[in-house]
């Protein structure tokens, strides 16, 4: 009975709000067309894409609350040398991008530091010469995540040293051990085989770095709020590390299977070689895109749901948007773990493929 009534109540609420939103949006449409001047410069048209992108993209300052932002160091390297200054200098008192006169005249355009000409327009030629090594929001968040990882795992590692082998794990140690064992028994051992121990530190580092950044990305405010694991630069770097580890450890049979597939006719071998060679690169690229796309998509989904409130311009929209956002947030929690697991598992699989010993090789010749 109770469940039935809850269900019908939900259905009723949903239909009521759907009707409400449609009327509200109609209501809002009319005055906009009628009095465009009334909207003025203060109340800009709400741009969903821009808002979402702003939250997903990297930034030169870390938004804390309201109008308070944490300025971060901007580090630029150009043909005129290295320069370091606070990102606060790129903003005026109204939190609008301002021109800072360093070696060049810098201004943030779409969140990125660019060189501008005297008239304030983008100087593409000069911008190309400037390398931006700034501690951006993502870099700072990455450092926070690394500080957390170091704090947690140095404590845990110390606990193993101090408590020794005989005593059972305790506290944080006993929380982390099953995860480490999971990586070892479910990821490394089945995919790499008996040589798994050599790759365990790499896999564990990758797994926990992705996991913590996925989790930090889900926290909507400081020290989270950055979208590190949904940033292509981050996933690319990790994918490059995987690429290096896989190909450095690739054995003779791995390269043989790429360039001269055994057990095939020579024409087939010649045909397969370029395909296999492309495969060497597509594997890490797929890692890069998978993590980036999954995390970014999750963030976009949550932000879109929250944006519903601003699109419909009514607080009642939150009755739908917030539960859905919470639901998606829970799924994201799962995805955060899942993507860290998948990235690590595929890395382990690629390492396993590269280091596999083909005992059946003799049969081919």
């Amino acid at each position: 009975m109770a469940r039935m009534s809850v269900k019908s109540l939900l259905v009723a609420t949903f239909s009521v709000f759907t009707m409400l939103f449609s009327t509200v949006s109609y209501a809002n449409d009319t005055p906009q067309h009628g009095t465009p001047a009334a909207e003025g410069h203060g109340a800009k048209e709400f741009d969903v894409t821009e808002t979402i992108l702003e939250h997903i993209k990297d930034d030169h300052s870390w938004h804390l609350w309201g109008h308070t932002t944490l300025p971060l160091p901007v580090i630029l390297y150009s043909d005129k040398g290295l320069e370091v200054f606070s990102s606060a200098k790129l903003m005026d008192e109204h939190h609008e991008p301002a021109v800072y006169a360093g070696n060049y005249n810098y201004k943030t355009i779409e969140g990125k530091v660019k060189v501008v000409k005297a008239d304030g327009s983008l100087d593409k030629e000069a911008s190309a010469k400037v390398w931006d090594f700034s501690i951006t929001k993502n870099v700072a968040s990455l450092f926070v995540s690394i500080a957390i990882l170091l704090l947690v795992f140095l404590t845990v590692g110390g606990a193993y040293r101090k408590r020794g082998v005989k005593s059972a794990p305790k506290g944080l140690q006993s929380f982390m051990e099953p995860i480490v064992l999971f990586v070892r028994d479910e990821v490394a051992k089945p995919n790499i085989g008996h040589k798994y121990a050599k790759y365990m530190p790499f896999l564990l580092t990758i797994f926990f770095l992705i996991l913590i950044n996925n989790f930090l990305g889900l926290i909507p405010f400081f020290p989270g709020g950055a979208n590190v694991s949904g940033n292509i630069a981050f996933t690319m770097t990790l994918a490059v590390f995987v690429f290096i580890v896989v190909n450095i450890n690739g054995n003779k049979s791995y390269w043989e299977h790429i360039f001269w597939m055994p057990g095939m006719h020579w024409s087939m071998k010649a045909f397969l070689a370029p395909i296999e060679l492309i495969g060497v690169f597509t594997k890490p690229i797929s890692l890069m895109i998978r993590l980036f796309a999954n995390i970014t998509a999750g963030h976009i989904l949550v932000l879109s749901l929250i944006c519903l409130i601003f699109i419909f311009k009514t607080v009642f929209a939150s009755a739908i948007a917030v539960p859905f956002a919470v639901f998606i947030g829970l799924i994201e929690l799962l995805v955060a773990f899942l993507q860290a697991y998948i990235f690590t598992m595929l890395s382990a699989m690629y390492i396993g493929m590269a280091t596999e010993e083909h005992h059946h090789e003799a049969a081919h010749h």
Binding site: L53, I75, E110, G111, L142, G157, F202, A233, F234, F292
Partner: protein
């Protein structure tokens, strides 16, 4: 260019740079101070558990072996005891039989001895009686002879008579 269509898929050199450094530092620090001691401790513990289990199994097998050995020993002891009892019984029986035999033979011997002694005594008594009868006869005969041969002529007659009896070859 394709990458410039969406700023999301354009990697920033800054993040790549810092991420590379951060990852390398994180990897080496954690490998030295977290993963290695952790994995070693876990491995050692698992090894310890495995050792303990195999040791327990071995001990169980040992105990089972010992138990069966004990049982065998017990069975053997039981058998030995039965054997010993049997032997003792046999010995006792034999002893009793021997004693019986011995007693019987002794009895027989005693009886025989007694018989012999009786016979001897009897014979001795008989001899004695015979001797006494003999000497009595001789005495009587002497008395008779003394009375008959009181005179000289009769004596000579008798001597003659005797002498005739003795034939010299």
């Amino acid at each position: 260019m394709l990458l410039e269509i969406n700023p999301l898929v354009l990697p920033d050199i800054g993040l790549v740079f810092w991420n590379t450094i951060a990852f390398i530092v994180l990897f080496f620090v954690l490998r030295a101070f977290a993963w290695k001691p952790m994995l070693k401790a876990i491995h050692d513990r698992e090894q310890g558990i495995e050792d303990a289990l195999s040791k327990a199994d071995k001990m169980k097998a040992d105990i089972a072996a010992m138990q069966s050995e004990n049982e065998a020993l017990l069975a053997k002891a039981r058998e030995e005891r039965a054997q010993m009892i049997k032997e003792a019984k046999e010995t006792a029986d034999k002893m009793v039989a021997d004693a019986k035999d011995k007693a019987k033979s002794e009895y027989d011997r005693i009886v025989a001895d007694a018989q012999v002694a009786i016979n001897q005594q009897k014979n001795a008594a008989l001899t004695d009686v015979k001797n006494q009868v003999g000497s009595l006869v001789v005495e009587v005969a002497e008395k008779v002879l003394r009375k008959e041969l009181a005179n000289k002529s009769e004596q000579e007659n008798y001597i003659k008579q005797l002498a005739e009896g003795v034939k010299l070859n």
